[in-house]
């Protein structure tokens, strides 16, 4: 044991305390950095020196490592909770926007407009011949159609928002995956297969993975060599230093453009269940569903109302009428998909009334719409035109796939009634609404041009109101195509469905946020920087350093004493 050895002890102590102080300083410097993991220096005594048999003396101190205070399992759970929380928040946000398009419980929501519309039919029944009341019905019909269309537009543009958000986030996710791949390389190089850890790089990688978790439910697999692999479901995203890449493709197979996420390397589709991207995919499905319900509501509203209206009569008969809806194949049975009719007629019949203007006498003819699939004589548009053409006083032909009926001369007009087949509504003859979905529902232009054509009567009398009442009662009447629900029920179910989804998503968001907060607190408890703790470390290391310096000074004095002997 020599004084030189003692000096070395002091030297080691100074070096170690300096290094420890640096670790403390670094911790303090990163106290506000949420991605930082608290580090601590591991100090251990150097190997003892044997002074004699059974006698060992210490030789100083050494730093054995500077490590991150981290629990990787906890971190994994935290990342997963971040995905879930972000997913729930995003869903809640977008579904609230869906709910906002309904504007329900206000005075100008669709439900109020529908009531006003159907009530205006009831009011028309008080004075069916009144042009003013007819105009009110048309205006209110326009208001319903306009609102349905604008809701549809709002929902579609919300979907467009979702699609463009997916595209943006796919870019961000790809950048983050690239960062992880790059950091994998940097970490393996820095750590060089040794035992040390490149703490800052690992913190950076953890931060990138955390950000990625906000976007999707990514699974982290430690490779043991310093690098990690990332997978989404069963599809690998990052393999060591290779980022397989995330990109998007457009899919229009469902009839509406959908931006889908794929792996750039092999175009493999990826299924994301959580994170913002997962939420967007799910929200898009829900919006799709709502659009489908709105379309179905509009379609049923159009068809059911037109069926009743088609069998009713306005103040004057028609001198000519052209069907709104054409067929692709006039030789196909009217219920054959080849016709491409949006509303399918059924086996039945309707009555055509031809009226002599002078005498007011009517001749009625039953027109059979045979769609029973038997005897090879099912009604086609051509055969329907032939049947109608055979009716005295009117002529009918098919022009460009559309049925055209014309009175033979200026002395006759014609009307329709008792359509049990839905053919008139299907072809768009004597209809109230035109269009076939929420996208294109509108009040028939010919009615807007001539409100006297609005059908309030059922028996042909100008003052009759039976069709008006039948339409007024339609809102609450069961509709077979809606499985017995009424138009009103169907709309309420749609609104309540969305309201329930929004409420659930809000609750989910709160629950997911609670889990995330708990796990964050646990992570902070282990990995977060406490300035108080660091202040104590600081004092401790400062004092140790002072002590070591004092020790060196004492050894120095001893050496001076020895040297002074000569």
């Amino acid at each position: 044991m020599t004084l030189i050895s003692a000096l070395n002890i002091g030297k080691s102590a100074l070096a170690v305390q300096q290094a420890a102080l640096q670790v403390t300083g670094n911790n303090i410097a990163n106290a506000g950095n949420a991605d930082f993991t608290r580090q601590s220096a591991a100090i251990s005594p150097t190997e003892d020196q044997q002074l004699g048999p059974g006698m060992f003396v210490g030789t100083g101190v050494n730093i054995t490592g500077i490590s991150r205070q981290i629990d990787n399992a906890l971190n994994g759970r935290l990342n997963s909770s971040i995905s879930d929380s972000q997913s729930a928040t995003t869903q809640s946000e977008y579904l609230s926007r869906v709910e906002a398009t309904f504007n329900e419980l206000s005075d100008n929501d669709l439900s109020t407009r529908m009531s006003t519309f159907f009530n205006s039919w009831s009011n028309l029944a008080n004075k069916p011949q009144d042009i003013g009341l007819r105009q009110v019905v048309l205006d209110n019909g326009g208001s319903v159609a306009g609102e349905v269309q604008s809701m549809r537009t709002a929902l579609t543009s919300l979907q467009d928002d979702v699609n463009s958000r997916v595209t943006d986030l796919a870019g961000t996710a790809n950048d983050l995956a690239q960062q992880v791949a790059d950091l994998n390389g940097a970490i393996t190089t820095a750590e060089g297969g040794g035992t040390g850890t490149a703490n800052a790089l690992r913190d950076q990688r953890d931060a990138a993975i955390k950000q990625l978790s906000q976007l999707m439910d990514v699974k982290v697999v430690d490779q043991g060599n310093g690098s990690v692999n990332l997978t989404i479901g069963s599809e690998p995203l990052v393999l060591g230093t290779t980022n397989r890449g995330i990109t998007t493709k457009q899919d229009a197979s469902s009839g509406r453009p959908v931006t889908e996420l794929i792996i750039k390397a092999d175009n493999g589709t990826i299924e994301i269940n959580s994170g913002e991207l997962g939420a967007l995919t799910q929200v898009r499905g829900k919006i799709d569903n709502v659009i489908g319900q709105l379309d179905s509501l509009a379609k049923n509203l159009i068809f059911e109302l037109n069926k009743v209206h088609g069998s009713g009569q306005g103040l004057d008969g028609f001198s000519d009428v052209t069907a709104e809806n054409g067929v692709n194949d006039a030789t196909a049975a009217l219920n054959d998909p080849k016709t491409n009719l949006k509303f399918t007629p059924t086996n039945g019949s309707f009555v055509v009334h031809v009226k002599q203007k002078g005498s007011g006498l009517e001749t009625s003819t039953l027109v059979k719409v045979d769609l029973d699939g038997q005897n090879n004589n099912d009604t086609t548009l051509n055969s329907l035109a032939t049947s109608l053409d055979a009716v005295d006083g009117i002529g009918a032909k098919v022009v460009a796939g559309k049925l055209q009926i014309t009175a033979d001369n200026g002395d006759t007009t014609f009307n329709f009634s008792q359509d049990s087949s839905g053919t008139l509504a299907s072809l768009g003859i004597n209809t109230f609404f035109s269009g076939d979905s929420a996208l294109n529902i509108a009040v028939n232009k010919s009615l807007q041009d001539d409100p006297s054509k609005l059908a309030a009567s059922k028996n042909g009398e100008i003052g009759d109101n039976q069709t008006a009442i039948a339409i007024a009662n339609l809102e609450s009447a069961p509709v077979a195509a809606l499985k017995g629900a009424s138009l009103k029920d169907s709309y309420e179910a749609m609104v309540n469905g969305v309201a329930g989804d929004v409420a659930t998503s809000k609750t989910n968001a709160e629950a997911a946020s609670a889990i995330k907060d708990t796990l964050t607190a646990q992570r902070e408890a282990l990995s977060g920087v406490s300035l108080d703790e660091e202040a104590i470390n600081l004092v401790k290391q400062q004092r140790a350093y002072q002590g070591a310096a004092r020790f060196i000074s004492a050894v120095d004095d001893m050496m001076k004493t020895l040297l002074a002997i000569t």
Binding site: E104, L105, N119, N123, A125, I462, I469, E524, S530
Partner: protein, 642 residues
């Protein structure tokens, strides 16, 4: 901000700051919510705030909106019927005046000039009645039914024509309740008495295109479409008839199912469906599920038939519609289309040729389009034809034109089966108090007497005459052309055929046998012309009677006017009851609205006490958050180290 676990080993600075940030943010969000609740006055601002209650609120809103409509309709009906009530009151006053005038002018002290002066007053009443009949409220004619917008009563030569309709309008005044807001002008002004009601059930058979909706069905409750289960003892097949529209569709579907050798066809009487089997088919027809299609179609079998025994479906009661083919009328016998009918309305006689008519509508059109000016339509029961004379004033007769057309259609106004009591405007035939009523002298100079006491119908009279004649050359029959009893003498004598009353009876005139003689035939006149009664006709008659100084006629019209008045009073009473019912309904609706609005308010509206308390609590929580954050964040060991 959620509650974090407190058993943490360490508390980092970041945790302290994030807990503070989180709790401040959460409290502020809750405050905003309460602020919104307080400022809007609503605790549910969008359905997701409380989906359960929002759904109920939404339904209640709908109910209130619906009731708004009922309320509007009730107000309309109240004002319309109120106007009707006041019109009926005016009409009643007017009829009272007419009656008073009639009573005042039957006395012997009134001069002819005095009656003429009164006639002028009655003419003014006549005009007033016309004005009342054409009253409207906001453009809706009170008595025009669904035939708007023209006034329902127009003056035509010889009387007043009703051009309105007896279909009166109804509207929704509650869930599944409709109330009338008009009264039948036809009934008020008494046009119904000018109606020739079809006496024959035209009893159509089924045609292939007969629609199922036009069938009464075996149970007279329509046809409820669904499936039926047909078996032949070996196999059973469900036949779906839900898409069937016509009776032919039903037959086609059953035949398509081809259960064993079972085939469907029209039954022999043409009123139902018949199922025939071949060989060993033991036919059974059952319902599918809880349906009633098989029984509605009259095919339901309670037991399985023995082999090859057909199922003869019940009468499906086809309704008479405009589209019913003429050939299917009267159980498939059709009607005599070749002869046509003769309608005389006032001074106008029209021979109506029905040849070429294929459907009931064709027949109606031919009658309606004739110059007779009558309205023919299917009766309310849907089994016969009514002919209405819309003009009050002239009288109407409908007669044969050499065939049986009018009788076939059941619209002959005077026929051999007409009860004697109906003749002469309901006065009947005034027979002798005792003994024979009628003596007929044949051309050969022989005579015989006839007693009519037991006769009930015109046919009875004909039989009585023929029996009394005893085959001695005189034959009584009913006219094949025109209406009346025809006496034909075949004795070949040179005298004059004649009929005269016996024992103070008035039967020759009352039976129309006082007509002039043509050779050996007396063509009796029509003594059952349908009298055109009604308010206008009766006031008109009073006026004319006063004008012509005819006291008997004044008395008679006074009596008729009294009947009119009674009817008007009765309708006014009914209208009053209707108005009362509407008022009760309106008041009930108001009560319901109060209850619904109160329920809605409890669901939707802010409970201010709770909300303000919550607001204050949150405010304090926020202050506490601020305080805690500032204290916790500002404490550091660093401050104590020197």
């Amino acid at each position: 901000m959620s509650i974090i676990p407190i058993q943490l080993a360490r508390v980092s600075n970041l945790l302290k700051s994030s807990v503070a940030t989180g709790s401040i943010a959460t409290t502020q969000a809750s405050l905003l919510e309460v602020q919104n609740e307080l400022s809007t006055g609503k605790q549910i601002n969008s359905p997701s705030d409380d989906p359960g209650n929002a759904a109920i609120a939404q339904q209640l809103h709908k109910v209130l909106e619906q009731r708004d409509s009922y309320s509007t309709n009730l107000k309309n009906a109240q004002s319309q019927l109120g106007e009707v009530d006041s019109s009926l009151s005016d009409l009643n006053d007017l009829l009272q005046q007419a009656q008073t005038i009639a009573s005042a002018n039957v006395g012997s002290d009134v001069t002819a000039d005095g009656r003429k002066a009164a006639a002028a007053v009655v003419q003014s009443l006549y005009n007033q009645a016309l004005t009342i009949g054409n009253r409207d409220l906001n453009g809706v004619h009170l008595f025009a039914g669904d035939r708007q917008p023209d006034p329902p009563f127009v003056s035509v030569q010889g009387g007043v024509k009703f051009v309105g309709d007896d279909n009166i309008l109804h509207n929704n005044t509650d869930d599944a309740t409709q109330s009338a807001f008009m009264v039948d002008g036809n009934r008020v002004f008494g046009a119904t008495s000018t109606r020739v009601q079809g006496s024959v059930n035209l009893d159509p058979t089924l045609a292939p295109n007969t629609r199922l909706t036009d069938l009464g069905g075996a149970g007279n409750d329509g046809i409820h479409l669904g499936g039926i289960l047909i078996g032949n003892g070996t196999v059973s097949t469900s036949v779906d008839l839900s898409q069937a529209d016509t009776i032919q569709d039903v037959i086609d579907q059953i035949n398509k199912a081809a259960v064993g050798g079972i085939t469907a066809s029209f039954s022999a009487d043409g009123k139902g469906i018949q199922l025939n089997g071949t060989g060993a088919d033991q036919i059974s027809v059952r319902e599918v599920g809880g349906g009633s299609t098989a029984s509605d179609l009259g095919l339901l079998t309670t037991t399985t038939n023995a082999a090859a025994v057909p199922v003869n479906g019940a009468d499906l009661r086809p309704q008479l519609t405009l589209l019913t083919p003429v050939a299917s009328l009267r159980g498939g016998t059709g009607i005599d289309l070749t002869s046509g009918i003769t309608i005389t309305n006032g001074g106008v006689t029209a021979n109506i040729d029905l040849s070429g008519a294929n459907t009931v509508e064709d027949i109606l059109n031919k009658i309606n389009g004739s110059k007779a000016g009558v309205v023919a339509k299917i009766n309310a029961a849907g089994n016969g034809i009514d002919v209405v004379n819309p003009i009050q004033g002239p009288s109407l007769t409908i007669a044969e034109n050499g065939g049986t057309t009018a009788s076939d259609l059941g619209i002959r106004s005077f026929a051999s089966d007409t009860p004697l009591s109906q003749l002469n405007g309901g006065k009947g035939v005034r027979t002798a108090a005792s003994g024979a009523d009628l003596q007929i002298t044949r051309r050969d100079g022989t005579a015989f007497s006839v007693e009519l006491t037991a006769a009930q119908t015109v046919q009875d009279v004909i039989v009585a005459i023929n029996t009394a004649d005893g085959g001695n050359g005189l034959t009584a029959s009913f006219a094949a052309t025109g209406n009346g009893i025809v006496l034909t003498d075949t004795t070949g004598g040179g005298g004059v055929l004649s009929a005269k009353d016996l024992n103070n009876s008035n039967s020759t005139a009352d039976l129309g046998l006082n007509a002039s003689v043509t050779g050996s035939t007396i063509n009796g006149s029509d003594v059952n012309a349908v009298e055109a009664n009604g308010i206008f006709a009766n006031i008109g008659k009073l006026r004319d009677a006063l004008q012509s100084n005819n006291i008997d006629a004044i008395t008679a019209s006074g009596v008729s006017i009294k009947q009119d008045q009674d009817r008007v009073i009765q309708i006014r009473g009914e209208t009053g009851a209707q108005v009362q019912e509407l008022e009760a309904r309106a008041s009930h609706l108001d009560d319901q609205n109060v209850a619904t609005k109160s329920l809605l308010s409890s669901l939707e509206d802010t409970d201010f006490t709770t909300a303000i308390t919550k607001f204050q609590t949150l405010q304090q929580a926020l202050q506490a958050n601020y305080l805690t954050a500032s204290k916790v964040m500002n404490q550091s060991l660093m401050d104590f180290l020197t």
